[in-house]
Symmetry: C2
Subunit: 212 residues, 2 copies
DNA sequence: CTCCTCGTCGAACGAGCGTTCAACCACGGT
DNA sequence: ACCGTGGTTGAACGCTCGTTCGACGAGGAG
């Protein structure tokens, strides 16, 4: 009996797929996908729409990405990496006070959702369009992000800096509200980025019952 | 020259369209659409999916609704009516204290988003799938809902019951977090409906800086 | 009994979807 | 000068989409 390695073939040649951003066309396709999907959603955006927005043809999209689905996965994954990285960096730079730490991650989270607004929108509204393998990856990273908020709020509650009696729920409350910034923020609107950050830091502190 | 009335024909017979819920099949179609679209989104759900989930054929869907788009509009519209109605009723029944009023509308908002979870999900994530006329209607009702929160928080801030210095932002913060309940709440999960309500009332009060 | 009306439904329409592929062409090695 | 190679492309694949329509059959009027 001969055992044949069939599984491996499911994954296409990795050289181009694992580093798609080196190729300028791959990056253009990713950017175009962000643009188009943020407006019409995953199922509402056709491969032709995305390709033509990137100035190429559908066929070249398939030279750089496994499929439309693979493009979405890459897009969400990269977006979440940016978010996680920014939040981790903010925590590293913050002092030991729970209030400082909460303000730091709220600011990081909110800024990413303004700077990478469309990626964030897609990452949060197209979770259901992700098929199993990609979804697991994205959900894991979202959970990791949530856990950072949980930890900071829990620490503050334990130390008595925060008076909230429901730290995990308050943490989720805050995360959702800060993520929601991507849904309403408009560059050039009545609030500057800094305005949005300042207010969200303040409201988040209130939400955990921070004595100030 | 003869002028022919062509426009009129675009709109199908109105008797069935203006009161679709009286017809059991129309109601079944609406329920099926909620079920299917909550999972796959508007563009990800086909008319055939919806019709077969309702136990009928695509053709009968077009006897009860103008189009797939019309079905979505009706769905969002009805969902928002339920939400608005619940929130208005809660305000009417609440006392004069800003804290009581905020708790009342938070509870109403959260309960609707748990009871009509799928409708709420669709209404909040498929806004972009709505075409111009329907979208205007839905946006107007969403704004009305937001304005109720704005008013209550502003009143509390003016009277000094709430110490927040950014009442409108806090109101939006709260609305978004409470709307987000529809994205994570699971019936039979670790938290009962009442748990969720109690916690959201408490956190919302904290978020506006309510002295208690 | 006959006819006419009207709701119902299977079948089909053209369009657009995600995806594939064979032909193509520029180009580097021999 | 020649050939082989590998990225690029227009065209096409099979399929599913939203929507339409003509045949059908039950039921009331004459």
């Amino acid at each position: 009996m001969v055992r044949v390695e069939v599984r491996r073939r499911v994954v296409p040649p990795p050289t181009v797929l694992t580093r798609p951003d080196d190729e300028p066309t791959a990056a253009a396709l990713l950017a175009a996908a962000v643009e188009v999907m943020a407006v019409n959603g995953y199922h509402g955006s056709s491969v032709r729409d995305i390709a033509s927005a990137a100035g190429t043809s559908p066929a070249v999209l398939y030279h750089h990405y496994e499929s439309k689905q693979g493009l979405l996965v890459r897009l969400c994954d990269r977006g979440l990496d940016v978010l996680l990285r920014a939040t981790e960096d903010a925590l590293d730079a913050a002092g030991p006070d729970a209030a400082d730490r909460l303000e730091a991650i709220v600011e990081a989270h909110v800024r990413v959702h303004m700077d990478s607004q469309r990626e964030s929108l897609i990452g949060n509204s197209e979770l259901r369009a992700l098929e199993a393998p990609g979804r697991a990856l994205v959900v894991a990273k979202r959970d990791a992000q949530q856990r950072m908020f949980d930890r900071v709020v829990r620490d503050g509650a334990r130390s008595g800096e925060f008076t909230t009696t429901h730290p995990d729920d308050a943490a989720r409350f805050i995360t959702i509200a800060c993520t929601g910034v991507a849904t309403w923020y408009r560059r050039g609107g009545p609030l500057t980025d800094d305005d949005v950050v300042v207010r969200h830091r303040a409201i988040a502190l209130d939400a955990v019952g921070c004595r100030r």
